[in-house]
Every structure is written in C-alpha cells, then in structure tokens.
Symmetry: C2
Subunit: 303 residues, 2 copies
C-alpha cells in the first residue's frame, strides 16, 4: 500500500484542490472552441461611441453600446475584458451596468476578465475579491506591489488573476525595469513571485490560474519573462492600436504548444469595439467582423 | 528690472497653478483647526457592526453605520478615509452608499480620502480620477507600479494623491524592500518618483498634494523615506491595531514643524469605528469618544 502525501504549497492547497485553477481550464477550453487566444477589451468612452448608441443619458448609452458589443463578439472570441474604470467613472449607475453586462457576457459563454487592477492588504483584497466574484468575473487583473497576500484572496474566492508584471504604457520602465542588486529587473522579480504563487493553481491543461499582464510593447523583455513564468497565461494588451505586432506576440508564446495552450491571451480594444461601419452597414456588423478578423489574425500568429 | 522665470516641472505646471495643491492646504488648515493630524478609517465589515445597526438588508446596515460614524467623528478629526473595497463588495448599491457618504463627510467639512489604491495606464486613470472627483474625494490612494503617467491624471482632475510607497502589511517587503543595483530599495525609488512629481503641486503651506502611504509598522525604513520626501504628507495606516506605536510616528515627522505641517496623517480604523460602548452608552458616543481620544493621543505624539 502506498500512502500519497500532498506537499504543502503557498496557499495550503494542491493544484488539484484549487477551485481557482478551473478558470485556467475554462479559458483553455474556450480558446480551443473558438480557435484563437484572443480577448476583446471593452473600454467604452462616451466621446467615441457610434452615433447609433448616443443617448441623453450617458449611462444608458454605455449600456446599449456594451451589450451590443458583447453580443457581436461572443460568437468569435473566447474572452472579454471589461475596463472597470470606464464604468466606475459614471458612478454607481455605471457600476450597475458593469455588473449586468459582465453577467450577460458570462451567460453567453464568454470568459470574463475584470480589468480592475486591484490590490490592497489582505483584508481589503478579500472584499475586492467578493465584489469581482459577485459581478460574474472569472479573472481579475491585480497589482502585486503590496505583496502576494493581497493577491491570494482572489484565488481563495475561486477567481483567476492576471498580476501586473510588465505593462504596455510608455513610462512603465520607471519602476518595472529598474535593475535589482540580484541582476533581475523589478518586473522579473515580480514574475518570480507570480510563478511561485501559481504552482498551487495549475489546472488539468497545465496552465495556472495565476497569470501575468505583459504588454505587447515589451517583447524585448518578454523572452526572459516567459522563461521565469512557464505555466503562466500572459494577458497581452497593446496589440494593434498601441503598437504591438505579430512578432511581439510570438516571443511570448510557450514553445511547441497548440494555440489554446500557448499561454497567451492577446487583447485588443479600440480596433474592434470602434470598428468603422461601411456605408449602409450596421455598426454591430462592423464590430463582429473586426472581432472575427482579429481572431483569425491572432490564430495565424500563434498557430 | 528682474525677470522671474518659472522653472518647468514634470507636469508643466507651477505649484502656484496647481489646483490639486489646494487639497494639501485644505488638509493643513483642517488639521490646524482640529489640532491633530489624524484620520479615521471607515472600513465597515458586516460581521463587526454593532447590534444597533444590524438590518436585514446589509447595504442598509452599512449605510446606517457609516453615516453614524461620520457624524460622530466629524467634530474631533480633520479627515476621514473610506476603504472603497468595503463598499464595492456590496455591488452597485454599496457604491451608491459610498458616494452619498463621501459627499456627506465633505459637507461636514471633513477632508475626504478615498482609499481605492487605483492605478492604470493614463487613459484609464483619467476615468478613475473622474470617478473619485465625482464621488467627492479630496485625496485618492494610488499605486505607482505602472509609472507616474497613471498618477498624474488624478492631479490633473484637481485631486491630491497618496502614492503607495511602503505599506503596512506583513509581506510588503517582498517587493518594496528589494534592493536595487543603485543601493536604494524599490520603496525608496518610488519615493524619489513621488517627490519629483510632487514639486509641481506644493501648496502655500509648503506641503505637496502628492503624498505617500507609509505604514506605521515600517518605521525602521521611515527615516530614509522622509529624507527622500521632505515635502510629502505621509498617510500612515497601521497605528494601534496593526502594531504601530508613538515612536514609529515620531520618526516619520518633518523636523521642527507644528502638527499641521508635520507631514503626517495618522489613520486608525477598528479602534475607533468599533469602539465598545460601556453599559447604557450609545454606540455612537463610544465612537465619538474614541475619535477624540485618538486625536489627543496623536496630538501629543506629534506636538
């Protein structure tokens, strides 16, 4: 008779026992079913909405636009990312729309990423995690500057996370690329923490529910980050509008894996949600076509 | 004839032209009027509310409790800090309560700090800033891991900020105390960025609207941080319940300054908002007394 002993992990859970890990598998499955590791970013800003969704009440306009985009992209992409800030700026009524749209996306079978970049001491992260779970998120973007105790509550609430490692904004190097005495950059140090935390949350497909945000504009550093985070899904903003290219994405893949296990989730926002309709075309048809084209494009890049 | 030349600053604004700087002066004035650089942290958690505020509807309970605490502490302290997470966890109805309570506190003359630890790329931080300003905040806590471009939108929206530099949680050293090749820690590097950004937002009283979060439990590193941030107000959580002491606070003061210009704002939460009433005493009387005692205690520490 053999007695199986489960080694203790950072959160006291084995990967097999991690509820959060299911989100990684769910994402892998959704990517496999849609054929492309792509995510549409929903960041509605009033001044950019198409004519057809303009309303006297800005919150009504945001809701109409959001629901339209969700319906239009759902057949083509596995995941959708909600930029919390765009809804929060409209106060509690905006939050009400965000919650109802997240549930709507989830009901359509989309994997829902709440891009909220939360992070606080553990007791407060508990509350943020409860909020995100209640709103219907599968994954939340989180900031690890306070340490992993602020990240773990999200996992304990059954959510996956994407921890900010190397962001796409122009001045992100000011903190993230600083060299430590060890020779690693701050981002690489964060990557090490992310990988360690992620071990206990690896799903059946071999990917962890603890992912990382790595901007498409940071491909020069991405090879090193991939080596440090072999099990992580990289949520990759900055493709297209912000300047990230196909070559940038290729550097970030896990080697020799099919698209659903390549460990990338490429997000594009403005190029899809504000796709210009041709004459006589409904704006949502343009959005749907843009989502489909993006999915094909990224499938070809990753495949 | 002398021609006065204003040196350019990071945001292209002189301190005199910074609307955000007024928040620093407002806080100095409020501290002077109440006599103590102290801030009550309002982090209501359902399971800790006093009997008298229990309701079937949790959001109603949170609102009743919050309004009661605001009214009870307003005569004794200059500032109040709302923990956004505690309201967000109750969804959009919680956010509605948060907004109405923040406005209520502001109307009572309190300086309002929104403890939301936001931080994103500039375009999204714009939205977060609009949300915080709309909700009635004077200051917002922000996370600078993405760089200062994610912090500046709050200043441009006329808000003051407290940037996370050295937090009070037990594992905060995992990132913040890492040594850089330069010899500085990550927190000290962040402090340098905070100070540089703050120069353009110094008010008439000599303090900047760009402040820093430095936990009371981090006094061993606080002397170095004070040297790097001479113009900053330190928002100091962790006093009391989390183990920070009077000696810890003293290390963080600006030298030879009266309390209102000492550059500290000490926050305490649980010890005030959950103050136990003695037999026959109304719970709010206990809260008011605890706030008054805390204000006296901190006045004696700093004065």
């Amino acid at each position: 008779m053999t007695i199986s002993v489960t080694p203790p992990t950072t959160t006291g859970k084995t990967a097999a026992g991690s509820i959060a890990a299911r989100n990684a598998d769910l994402l892998v499955q959704a990517i496999s079913s849609k054929g492309s590791p792509v995510c549409v970013g929903l960041d509605p800003a009033l001044e950019q909405l198409p004519e057809a969704t303009r309303r006297d009440d800005p919150v009504e306009a945001i809701e109409m636009f959001s629901r339209g985009v969700i319906d239009a992209v759902a057949p083509h992409v596995p995941a959708i990312k909600f930029q919390s800030a765009c809804y929060e700026r409209h106060g509690w009524r905006g939050m009400r729309v965000l919650e109802s749209c997240m549930h709507h996306a989830r009901n359509l079978g989309l994997v829902v990423v709440l891009d909220a970049k939360r992070g606080d001491i553990g007791i407060s992260s508990n509350h943020y995690a409860a909020a995100a779970a209640g709103a219907g998120a599968h994954f939340v973007t989180v900031n690890g500057y306070l340490g992993l105790s602020g990240v773990e509550p999200f996992l304990n609430a059954g959510l996956g996370v994407f921890v900010l490692v190397r962001t796409s904004n122009p001045d992100s190097a000011a903190v993230q690329s600083e060299k430590l005495a060890s020779g690693a950059t701050v981002a690489e140090h964060m990557a090490g923490l992310v990988h360690t935390l992620g071990v206990a949350h690896i799903g059946a497909a071999g990917l962890s529910a603890v992912g990382a945000v790595v901007g498409a504009t940071q491909s020069r550093e991405a090879g090193a980050l991939r080596a440090l985070m072999p099990d992580q899904i990289f949520l990759i903003p900055g493709y297209g509008a912000q300047g990230g290219t196909a070559d940038d994405i290729r550097v970030m893949r896990r080697a020799s894996q099919p698209p659903e296990k390549s460990g990338v989730l490429v997000t594009a926002s403005r190029s899809v949600i504000y796709a210009k309709a041709t004459e006589g075309q409904h704006w949502l048809e343009a959005v749907g076509t843009a989502a489909k084209n993006l999915a094909h494009e990224i499938r070809d890049v990753v495949g």
